[in-house]
Amino acid sequence: MSTLIVFACIALLLLIIVQIARVRDLAKQLRGAEEVDARSTKMTGYYLVFFMVAFLVLTTSSMYYYKNYMLGYGPHESSSEHGSLIDSMMNLTFVITFMVFVFTHILLFWYAYKFRKQAGKKAQFISHNNTLEIVWTGVPAIVMTFLVIGGLDAWNEIMGDVGADDTYMEIEAQGYQFAWQIRYPGDDGLLGRTDFRLTEGTNRFGQDWTDLKNADDIHLGEIVLPVNKKVRVRITAKDVLHDFYLPQFRVKMDAVPGLPTYFVFTPTKTTKEWRKGLSEFEEYQIPSPTDPEKMYWETANYELACAELCGIGHWSMKKKVTILEEDEYEEWLADQKSYYLSNIRGTEGDPNTNMLLPAEITQRRQEFNQEADTALETSEDDDNTLTLEYVTFETGSEQLTEFSSYQLDDAINFLKENADVSVMLKGHTDNTGDATVSYTLSDRRATEVRMYLLQGGIDAQRMSSAGYGLANPVADNATEDGRQANRRTELYVTRGALPASTPSK
């Protein structure tokens, strides 16, 4: 009903306007066209001048009103190193164009008013003026030259890629319908190879797991960066065009399927510092939209957006961006897990089961040293034995498997660093074989390990070995997992004397 009333009102309004127009035309014929024209010319002249004044006042005052949203001013200052170049170029362009804007508008409307048709005044015959025309060709040309030089100077500095000896970190941001996924390079600082054909549910970047640079890559749902450190963002797209847009950092670059693009920038303000900056402005001292307990500025975040139409969800591709102090960042990074190691390693999709990754070697070494230290500190009465989890043998023999040497090397290093420690190697089996055979096998295996350590340069006096056969299971022999746990080599560590090396059968 209200719609109907609105329509009726509009129709009525139009009707009234049309009638006024008709009446004015009639009046013109009645009162004499000349007189009416003269009056209306005068009025229109006034209107034009009035419009000019109102227009210039309103544009200028609205610029002042919205100053906090424009240019490199106040809360809208850039948070990146190169951003200030853009902002100052923008300010320069603003000043120049605004002056031209005001000047030409005053001339345009003032001349229109001043040279309106008036009785007794004739138009002057001025067809051209070469001097004037040279001036208004030359002056813009000179101004443009300055803007071009200034602009290109800044542009080439901003868009120049990283130099050969720059230190920087590289991350990848990939756009897809309709979100961003972020990949960090991990400890090696290098992003692994990808191929879009490898993309699937468990491999969203299409990473090629045979490229070991991928092994430590981290997948993230947000961007976290250290302040004052150069970042090179590799920008990719999975399906259609997207655009990696960080408004507060003056970063924008299309993401193109099949063509990785890059943007290099250095954040200069941590999220905390930025929020503190916002707190000084009234429009941020309102309740936060996400947490009514807090102020707007307290919960404000840098944001990543998409700035290239990519489909119906284009407007929703938001990711939080956080800038931290260097130490906070390191702390945060330490908590992030490699996607490959936590989701792919050891599953069916893992093409690297025949090898040990550097990260795994390091990790196992750390675990071993920690367990060994713990075992050393444990009192003699308790069990100060640790299991050499990764030392394994070929089935039914004392032949060490290929990967066993890593942990044994760790043990050698450990013993070299702790010269006062003596060890006893204990072999155990599961219950699948005959008890005697098991005993012999476990003894041979313990001896084999002792031999390995001996060759590694550990004094024979510090080591003994013993086989326990199937006598000491630590898990249920009824399951495969349990049996595997029972087949083990243990390392008994002590700073005191070794026990006699003749265990009971």
Partner: protein, 616 residues
Amino acid sequence: MATAIFAPTTREEGLIQELGYEDYFHDHHHGDKYQSNFVSHYIFSQDHKMIAKQFLITGMMWAIIGGLMSLVFRMQLGFPEESLAWIKPVLGKWITVSADGIGKLQADFYYALVTMHGTILVFFVLTAGLSGTFSNLLIPLMVGARDMASPLLNMLSYWFFFISGMVMFASLFLSTGPFAGGWVAYPPLSALPEAMDGSKAGMTLWTISLVLFVVSVLLGGINYITTVLNLRTKGMTMWRLPLPIWAFFVTAIIGLLSFPVLVSAFFLMMLDRGIGTSFYLSDIYIGGQALDHVGGSPILYQHLFWFLGHPEVYIIILPAMGIVSEVLSVNARKPIFGYKAMVFSILAIAFLSFIVWAHHMFMSGVNPFIANFFVIFTLIIAVPSAVKVFNWIATLYGGSIRFNPASLFAIGFVSMFISGGLTGIWLGNSTLDIQLHDTYFVVAHFHIVMGVAAFFGMYAGVYHWFPKMYGRFMNETLGKFHFWGTLIGAYCVFWPMHYIGMAGVPRRYFRFDTFETFNHFAELNKFITIAAIITFGFQVLFIINFFYSIWKGRKMETMNPYDSNTLEWTTPIETGHGNWPGKLPSVQRWAYDYGKDGRDFIPQVEPVSEEESPAH
């Protein structure tokens, strides 16, 4: 014989009979063939004046459709919580009404509306409606020709435009909706039906429609160029051409050189869509599977598209500039200031328009190095543009300006062109483009400089030449209402977008509240939407005025109501086929002898007398 019967009624007609050129046109019965019955007169007309009216009215219909579309998506942007259930009868399934009766615009349809609005306004309204109308109407009349070089091609040009429009209109009713990937139709979004519903049949129809449209533009363009080059009447040298003709001529050349490139871009797109080639596609994983396309580049399309796309904005604005130059000069009763500079600046702009296309692509992933060239050429365009602006202002200086809707819209055009042109200096600078690219700042810029400004040029032309088209005047008071409403309204709509853009808000967002950064402008967006509705309302005044005046407007009683120099005002009020009832006029001077030697105006057909001061 027809020529013998014709008796001159005015001094100009007398001069034409005395000095004109006898081409024996009226000895043959061309006229009957062209306008003997309703169909050949009003529908399949080959008369350039009728074709001009067909272009104009078709363009107006499209402008209404495109304008209404913008109001619907402005409602979404300004009042996202408001129920739109009341337009469900029109928009059907694109509005979903929830259980409590709140009608919401679907995101797919929002994008379809934005895309259709852009396509319709750029191609159907501001290319066909503006250049098509006035090139057709004015070229033969102003150069002194009986008609276009090929009336048949001219007729086909309109009908290809009409069919193109019908195809586009049909796409609005597809179940998967019209194309929705933006008027630039960047692949892969436009090339892959999986990417969005609009890229299914909607995209196919969109492409077909635009290919037909290009055919129309090319048929028209060849005609305009040939007519200007070959059918100028005796004495009408190139340097005596009125400025609109220069503008239409150069526009047609630009169109002829750039539109075929667009077709080739579409052709490759069709191959990618239809038979699995990979011109634009590579490394794509979409809808749960990796596609076979490898080796193409989406950026290739962007190069091809903008090779048309940038000249296209000059195809839109140059005719408006030409019209404004003429209207300002006639109504200021002064010669256009710096006629030659005006011509050379048109030529310079046209030339430069072909070597600046990549300024649309600074952030698209092309090598940043190439920006060095494109920034330089782009900012050079500011120079001829500045020359034009200063020349228009200088044309007003010392004049005796008549304020009628046409001259007011011409002044408004200059204001819009300044406001929008200056922001071009921001955007043409690649450094600023890093922040401003694809934000509302761009929306503000191009709407003011080529949308609103071109509309102003078009309105100036319609108000000025309406009597030539229909033998009646449009209502001046309504015209002035229309002018003030549009001037103020358009600034209210587009000026605030600069602020939104500088704050970084991207364009083509369905809603802004997902982002904290972009969610500061709810009030301003409401204001813009209200301003847009009101401004559209003022365009309704124009439409009423237009159709009312066709039948009821004040009658034109003299042949030359504006005391104008150009040839179109030497034709009879009821201009028949062949334009001049007797001989063809012979041109004796340039078009801008206003106020010379104390005489208000000296028509082009009047010989230069001995005592006259030297030519301009």
